[in-house]
């Protein structure tokens, strides 16, 4: 196991390097500079002052030099200072990442808790009414753009029914403490989590269903039945344990996806997460934030993949590293 992890970590190096070079090149190739928005705020700025500002952030360095400088800083543990937020990127990311995880992890758990049993039932009762209904709901989930679904929720649930707040992390200056504070937070998380969950449930349910269908036609399921095991044991012990193998892989990969993929949902609900941070940083050409943000997201993807491999070994005894 250890050698495997070391090997995987080593394999990550060229990938991380490649990602960083590509993102670095792309974001610096995009026209514009980090102070453009200042012109709108302050039309009086002179060309000279402006160029001084740009020089102070190393804007005029040649691209390779910029990259080397960036990597150098990174190796010294400095991931940079945001140009537009004027604070260490590490602080910013720490905050945004936890906000995003606050949505991503419950959404991931909730969607799994809902999707896996539904998928199992719909597979064991293939072609039943239940199967058709669940399948249709799943297709609806796959076929509706997430932001559109979010907007519909805002209109009908938050605005018309006033069941949940329209946006934000928590009630500002509520003075809530203890359990009220937790509820207030949950209250604000409900709608974005609903969106992220609904969007995921569909895919995961279909995936579980087909994994189960694949498993239940295996010989060992017949063996299990021939032993006189109850249908429940056959499905939930013998079949599900095998079907979980591909599901677990998909799960950890989707955690990686979820972190960056939530950008539209975060946007609608004005949720200050990683996605919106990088999105705004791109618009502001806040290079340190873009680089650090995308690298964090990419690394999460990579780590999620490794996690998938590790979990793989846990659920499948055939795999040993």
């Amino acid at each position: 196991m250890r050698t495997f992890l070391i090997r995987r970590a080593l394999l990550m190096i060229p990938v991380v390097l490649g990602i960083s070079i590509i993102i670095f090149a792309l974001i610096h190739l995009a026209p514009g500079d980090p102070f453009t928005h200042m012109i709108e705020a302050d039309p009086n700025v002179t060309t000279e002052d402006y160029e001084n500002l740009l020089r102070s952030v190393g804007y005029y360095d040649p691209l390779p030099l910029k990259y080397v400088k960036w990597v150098g800083q990174l190796l010294r543990g400095n991931i940079g200072h945001s140009i537009s937020y004027r604070e260490p990127v590490a602080d910013l990311i720490g905050r945004r990442l936890s906000n995003t995880l606050l949505l991503a992890i419950p959404a991931l758990c909730l969607s799994t808790i809902i999707a896996v049993p539904l998928g199992v039932i719909s597979a064991t009762r293939q072609y039943s009414i239940f199967d058709y209904i669940v399948t249709i709901i799943a297709f609806i989930g796959i076929s509706i753009p997430a932001f559109f679904f979010a907007l519909l929720l805002v209109k009908y649930i938050a605005f018309d029914l006033k069941l949940f707040p329209i946006s934000g992390l928590s009630t500002i200056k509520s003075g809530f403490t203890g359990i009220r504070l937790v509820f207030d937070k949950l209250h604000h998380m409900a709608l974005p989590i609903t969106v992220l969950t609904f969007v995921q449930v569909a895919g995961r349910m279909r995936y579980t269903r087909s994994a189960m269908l694949e498993v239940v036609r295996q010989d060992y399921i017949r063996t299990a039945r021939a032993k006189g095991l109850s249908e429940r044991t056959v499905i939930y012990k013998h079949a599900l344990r095998n079907a979980l193998i591909p599901i677990v892989t998909i799960l950890s990969v989707s955690l990686g996806r979820l972190l960056s993929g939530a950008v539209l949902t975060e946007n609608v609900f004005n949720w200050p997460g990683m996605g919106t941070m990088v999105y705004k940083a791109i618009a502001n050409r806040d290079y340190p934030v873009v680089m650090a943000g995308t690298m964090v997201l990419a690394l999460t993807m990579l780590l999620a993949n490794i996690l998938a491999d590790i979990l793989y070994a846990f659920v499948d005894p055939r795999i040993r590293y």
């Binding site: 026209p31 514009g32 709108e40 705020a41 009086n44 700025v45 937020y85 329209i166």
Partner: protein, 540 residues
Amino acid sequence: MRKKFGVVLVITALTLSLLLSGCQPAVTVVEDEPMIVRRAQWNPPTGMFHPELLSSDYDSSVTALIFEQLVEMNPNLEFEPALAESWEFSEDNLSCTFNLRKNVKWHDGQPFTAEDVKFSLMFVGHQDYKGARYSNVSSIVGMEAYHAGESLDVEGIEIIDTHTIKITTSEVFAPFLLNIGGRIMTAKHIWGDVEVATAEEQTELLRNPVGTGPFKFEEFVPDQYASVVANDKYWAGRPKVDGIVIQSVNQDTAMAQMLNDEIDIMTVTSFNPDDMAMYEENDIQVLKALLVAVQYMGINHEKEFLQNKLIRQAFSHAINRQGIVDELLYGYGEVADNPFPPSIWAYPPQDEITHYEYNPERAIALMQEAGCEYTDGIMYYAGQPVELSLLYPYGNKVREQYAQVIHQNMADIGVTIDLQIMEFATLSDKCEAGEFDLYLMGIGTSFDADQRYIWGKNSRFNYGRYFDETSIAMMEEGVKYTEVEKRKDIYLEWAKHMNEQVPNVWIYNWYSAVAVTPKLQNVQFFPGGVYYDVINWEFK
């Protein structure tokens, strides 16, 4: 098993929804609950709460409550005493003496003195100062040498006594009160020991601003909001509300939050009658003001074809600007034909300038006069069909709409427009590089008539590279006087010149508005913002 699972699912769902909906903030009004105004903006404050270092409106909406200027502009665009009780100009108009209020204290209890004024001005002039406001003070005697690091003091700033300060400029500087008197005062005892070069990294100080204003800083929650509380010892009296929260909301859903009473003040982005009706139904006040700003179509004067003023005049005739104002702004705007917005004194009398009314035939005729050929609905110049690129940035819904209108209007006179929407950063880059024919932009113009920062020799904003010696000479003349009456004539001539040259096709000056909850009274809105006389804001 299946049944059990279903039951569990239903119970979980029920509990969750009960919990979540049960914890709605109760709408109980307690007598002594603090009166907090919730102001919405499209982005959270960034935490750069230093008035001369910040570069975003999302921060100045906070600092404007905490910090003050020597003189303040009122809704009639006249200057009023603020930290300076009074001021007087010397005979030659080169210097001005400010008499400071004597009972003003910083929020930490320290007195406010002339030293603070001098410090604040020199901060902006410092060599290592990284903000963008040096040009405002550069005309003070000795400031250039100080900025270059050649001297340690600025002769032009003279402290007469603790509460009197005299500031001298090297030439007569017309926007003196606006640019120098309007500098925002920061405390010397707080920032004096900080190296200017590292000022931006002083997160502690930046996030705990100390000013003299009607509100004291209370709390900053990154990515969400900043809040201020009433300053009990404010020199003009304690504000009537207890505090203000400046919070970030999503522009798309802000209106829903306004209607749901989740926020108290926000900027209105459209004058759509449907919106207005919804506000009205909920008794929400909508305060409107004509901004000191203009939307325009910039022209690349390096392209030979566009150097001909007849072509530019033709474009002004071709675009249905009145239609845009009437239909897209719902009448809340003025068609613009000169560089000055109607609200400032330099705005020329309307019979003095040409109005380029919507007239496609006239546009075609002017183009033909300029050497174009118009056949079969297509405009040719030098044998080629006229095709022009039009760059415009995201972010302004009306602009995105009128870009489509221009596309169609120009097609009506046989000119093909290639619409290119892009990020603002990309647009300004392309404009600086001259890679465009036409572009759309809105610009907040100065309250003063001086527009050298747009049309001057070194202006960053002169994307169109319009270098007009006549115009520059006139503008240089205009800043040589402080008396409005003398300057008026000069700027009228300049406005007429620009009106004829059409260096930009001005589209419109527009109204902005804020929506204010019915409970909150005495809010005034003018191009300078909503905070004028904020101490009299009051909840019903």
